[in-house]
């Protein structure tokens, strides 16, 4: 199963399916206002904001799900979809922000500034978006090369901060019923927890190997002694 290669059509299909919610919400806003339909209910712009916001969190969830699924189930082919999913998270965030700024605030810069400065949940949401931008910009293979794998990986660990900020933003935005924010928080806790577990196991393994390599000597090993972890293949 590990060496399974997905059929060629899978990629465009995943892309098209990921695009559907965006097409739906844009079409629905237009239809509700121009044709008098009620696809998004009585308050289409609010609904569109909430709808796109939830999709940002879903795509962040898919993106962060790639590595754990790949490692635990051995679905290595999934790795090739991670960038696309991440870019969709960014695109939905941009759409979410656009609906908020163009349709909700109606392009009033003063209101945008007041919201960012005075309302913590907007501040937090905006911070999450700003942090997403460099990740989107550096998502190309060229940029990975230019930055070097290690620095690139370090930069892209910002995603952990972003999901925390995004969940807090959602949590603070709801009036009273926090069921859905809790569900997202729980999922992200699992996805981030998985990484902590893996990271700690790695460290323990490295420490054990270091110990095993210790030469048998009477003199105590100096505290600074360690074997560079790069000598070991990642588990």
């Amino acid at each position: 199963m590990a060496s399974w290669t997905p059929p060629r059509w899978l990629r465009p299909v995943v892309f098209a399916v990921s695009l559907l919610p965006a097409l739906w919400v844009i079409g629905a806003i237009a239809s509700d206002f121009f044709n008098g339909t009620r696809l998004l209910g009585s308050n289409p712009i609010k609904e569109a904001e909430h709808f796109t916001g939830r999709w940002v969190l879903r795509f962040l969830m898919f993106t962060l799900g790639v590595t754990p699924i790949r490692q635990t189930l051995g679905w290595n082919w999934l790795q090739k979809y991670r960038r696309m999913l991440g870019l969709f998270a960014f695109s939905y965030a941009a759409l979410h922000l656009s609906i908020y700024f163009f349709l909700d605030l109606e392009l009033v810069w003063g209101d945008l500034w007041a919201d960012i400065v005075k309302r913590p949940y907007i501040t937090i949401g905006m911070a999450a978006f700003v942090l997403l931008v460099p990740l989107a910009v550096t998502s190309t293979a060229k940029m990975v090369k230019r930055l070097g794998g290690k620095r690139w990986a370090a930069l892209h660990r910002t995603i952990y901060v972003i999901v925390v900020l995004g969940t807090i933003h959602f949590w603070m935005a709801v009036k009273r019923d926090i069921t859905l924010p809790l569900v997202f928080a729980a999922i992200f806790a699992v996805l981030l927890g998985y990484r902590i577990v893996v990271w700690r196991r790695k460290r323990q393994l490295a420490a054990m190997r270091t110990k095993n390599r210790e030469p048998v000597m009477d003199t105590p090993v100096s505290p600074g002694f360690s074997v560079p972890s790069s000598q070991f293949p990642a588990p």
């Binding site: 206002f33 121009f34 044709n35 008098g36 009620r38 209910g41 009585s42 308050n43 712009i45 609010k46 163009f102 109606e106 392009l107 009033v108 810069w109 209101d111 007041a114 919201d115 005075k118 309302r119 949940y121 603070m172 935005a173 009036k175 009273r176 019923d177």
Partner: protein, 311 residues
């Protein structure tokens, strides 16, 4: 003496039924206009003085909000927290028989069948703006009678200074009450002089029909110059007291929802601006009016009150 014309909804501003039912056409025009003006304002926003824009927009008409929106876009947490939940979960809600208890500091405490509660008063139609604290609004033709009618009938004692209203507590019928989302049963209150104001009513219907459960059947309050959450739906208890009653949203978030809760474009909710509102069915937002446009009638109730502190 200065005689001012109230900023009420004039009969001439109300859409005739024939036109009103042609919502589709109205929305198409309104939407196109909105888009065109959005395009213009995108380029010109920096040159427009906000003051000018506001005075122009204050002349916006108040069209009745379609029945479908009024009855499917509701905050009634007893039936769920989504706007569409009440219409779905309140189907089959039993409003017969229904008893309303009047108690507390009152000369004639009594339990009424809801029919007897309503009967002595003459029902009238009141077309009011309805402004939700969340930033949206509607225009609703209520059917009801002044609270003052009832209050005069039951004769509160001289010591009574507040009226408290309470919603039915019945988790079997109201699934939202099975979770501690709010401090059930929903409780709200008014100062006695606010409740006596002729604009404050008990509503039993809208659009000429009996209230649907999602709108607070069989009996609810409507206080048009306050945010919607000050209204109490499906009322079973009315209590006169000398102390300010505790209220559901104030219990939940005291820094966000005060006791007075007057509509006020100058005092923001901690999480959003209250300066503008989205009238349901309209593409562009409109400015929120002081006391929801009823300042001429009600501002005298609040002389000397710091409305920034007493939000």
């Amino acid at each position: 003496m200065l005689i001012k014309k109230p900023d009420d909804i004039k009969p001439s501003e109300i859409t005739p039924e024939r036109l009103y039912y042609d919502r589709r056409e109205f929305l198409r025009t309104a939407g196109l206009l909105g888009l065109a003006s959005a395009a213009v304002s995108a380029g010109a926003i920096a040159c427009v003085e906000p003051g000018n824009a506001a005075t122009q927009e204050q002349q916006l008409k108040d069209e009745l909000t379609p029945f479908e929106d009024v009855t499917t876009y509701n905050n009634f947490y007893e039936f769920g927290t989504d706007k569409s939940d009440p219409a779905e979960n309140a189907k089959g809600f039993k409003t017969k028989p229904w008893t309303v208890r009047v108690e507390g500091l009152v000369s004639k405490p009594a339990s009424y069948g809801v029919e007897d509660f309503i009967k002595p008063s003459r029902l009238e139609e009141r077309i009011y703006r309805h402004r939700c604290v969340e930033g949206w609004s509607m225009v609703i033709p209520w059917l009801g009678f002044p609270m003052a009618d009832l209050i005069n009938r039951v004769q509160p004692l001289a010591s009574a200074r507040y009226v408290e209203f309470q919603t039915l507590n019945d988790p079997k019928q109201m699934p939202g009450q099975r979770a501690p989302v709010l401090n059930w049963p929903y409780t709200e209150g008014l100062r006695l002089d606010e409740a006596m104001h002729p604009l404050a009513i008990f509503a039993v219907g809208l659009y000429g029909k009996t209230l649907l459960p999602q709108n607070g059947a069989p009996l609810r309050t409507v206080i048009p110059w306050k945010y919607g959450f000050k209204a109490t739906k499906s009322i079973v208890r009315i209590r006169f007291t000398d102390k300010q009653p505790r209220t559901a949203w104030n219990d939940a978030a005291p820094n966000e929802y005060g006791f007075l809760a007057n509509v006020n474009p100058e005092v923001d909710h901690p999480r959003w601006s209250q300066a503008r509102e989205r009238r349901i069915g309209e593409f562009r937002k409109r400015p929120t009016l002081m006391f929801n446009g009823y300042a001429d009638q009600v501002s005298r109730l609040y002389t000397g009150v710091d409305l920034r502190k007493n939000y």
